[in-house]
Symmetry: C2
Subunit: 292 residues, 2 copies
């Protein structure tokens, strides 16, 4: 099973009505419910012994992680989380475990002024726990930020630090960058944004593709978490930081959210390059990409 | 793992903000997004070899069932489905299977004028397929129907037929009762409504508890699907029909939706009784319930 190639086959055939302002493929879908704000919607899994180690993780912390990784997708669109629905399917995880897991998700929601309003709990035919949470948020219509808005000449920025998420415990105890996302959206600072969950390089590549530009990343400028090392930190993932681009004229305004400039955007066929022009994903020189 | 006792422990502690008009415990949550309509939201699982037999079911049909059983929850609140998010976690189900499963869900959505707008696909550490779909719908604020509105003197009604869902294939090829739900809502016909998924008796008991009334069911009046037999048909489940109550003065208006009257509502501590006063769930005489 290969998620990326599956999505490549599935997404082009999906029919979306006019009330779907942003369809599948960004951090969230953006939906027009007739009110003054867009509804944001996203769903993400947390699976025992895939996304956390059940043996040495408190169920409350696992549930909170599930909520927070979804809230991070709302932050990436500039929104605020409002509601969540939790689906959990399990076998050999008892009621006490599932209750504490659900309460962890509900408490994390409350911290963000959001509410757990529904979901489903079911049995599995095999031992394990597979949970999925759908998050709903909202954002003023003229403030929503997609992955597609990066422009040549922009600065590439990231909040917080990158790397060593697993061993440092960051993947469990991070807080979603909701305040930062709201500042970047409400001030119309960010041109494009996403949350770094699958590794900085891969997520940079996605932004490059969605925006139709090249990202020039200076690895030496990437702020590393304690214990993180290059080049692994650039692809480890689970950072849950905001990656975004801004106009260089507005760099000073970054101070209010403690973000770092890590590169620049330039015209060209989508790629992530180092300052010497080497493609950081393939290791090849950037000009070897087919230009069209 | 016992879903009911888990929910009894979890739900009272959940915090819901003022914009949550109807919280957990009904077919859908109803949320105020600031527009003229309420947003309806629900989530439900479909797990291979729990909710369908993977071996002899086309993946398209399984995906469609997952959408339709969620759409049935929207129908039960009087709403229309708008959007869906699909989460699937699998191992040993290949890309072709998951693509066809997802396309089945997307096609079923399109039939209802709804769109698949997001979701997540993940790997499992054990062989199997656990899918969950979150459905979003909408309903005019003054038309939403809950489980809690049944009144003494009402008639108890059901759409379609009950029983033998599994062997007849109804559990796979049913169509959600969306038109019927909209008629019952827009004409303010139904006082209380839910969709029959866990068996008629159990769902009647839920409506009785939420409404604080007794349901008097006449089993002889329950319309049975071909091959269905009493008493099993009353508890088999997967009927996906609408169960609702109406004022007896408006019985004639049922003709437009081909529903049957199967009982009456009376005052008393929540129970489901037969016309002789026997509790149909416990087999005891109804007066043995503690009255308070």
């Amino acid at each position: 099973m290969d998620e990326l190639s599956l999505l490549e086959q599935l997404l082009p055939g999906l029919h979306c009505g006019r009330d779907t302002v942003i369809g599948p493929g960004d951090d969230c879908a953006a939906l027009d419910c007739g009110g003054p704000e867009l509804l944001l919607a996203a769903a993400d899994h947390l699976i025992a012994d895939v996304h956390y180690f059940a043996e040495n993780t408190r169920p409350e912390d696992a549930g909170a992680k599930l909520f927070n990784r979804n809230a991070s997708d709302i932050a990436a669109m500039g929104g605020r989380p409002r509601w969540a629905l939790l689906s959990a399917a399990a076998k050999d995880f008892d009621n006490d475990y599932l209750l504490r897991f659900s309460q962890g998700a509900a408490r994390a929601a409350k911290v963000c002024d959001a509410s757990l309003v529904g979901g489903d709990i079911a049995g599995l035919p095999f031992p394990g726990l597979s949970a999925s949470l759908t998050i709903l948020g909202s954002v003023p219509k003229d403030e929503v930020i997609t992955r597609a808005g990066a422009r040549a000449g922009d600065l590439v920025c990231v909040t917080g630090c990158i790397g060593n998420s697993l061993l440092s415990g960051h993947h469990l105890n991070f807080r979603p960058r909701l305040e930062e996302g709201r500042i970047l959206a409400s001030k119309h600072l960010a041109h494009a944004m996403l949350d770094v969950s699958d590794g900085l390089l891969l997520d940079l590549q996605r932004m490059a593709e969605m925006s139709g530009v090249q990202m020039v990343l200076d690895p030496a400028r990437v702020p590393l978490r304690a214990g993180a090392k290059l080049p692994e930190a650039l692809s480890d993932g689970e950072d849950y930081e905001l990656l975004f681009t801004i106009s260089p004229e507005r760099e000073k305004e970054l101070e209010s959210i403690a973000a770092s400039v890590i590169g620049t955007v330039r015209a060209g066929s989508p790629a992530v390059l180092d300052p010497a022009g080497k493609d950081l994903l393939t290791g090849k020189k950037g000009y070897e990409h087919g230009k069209n």
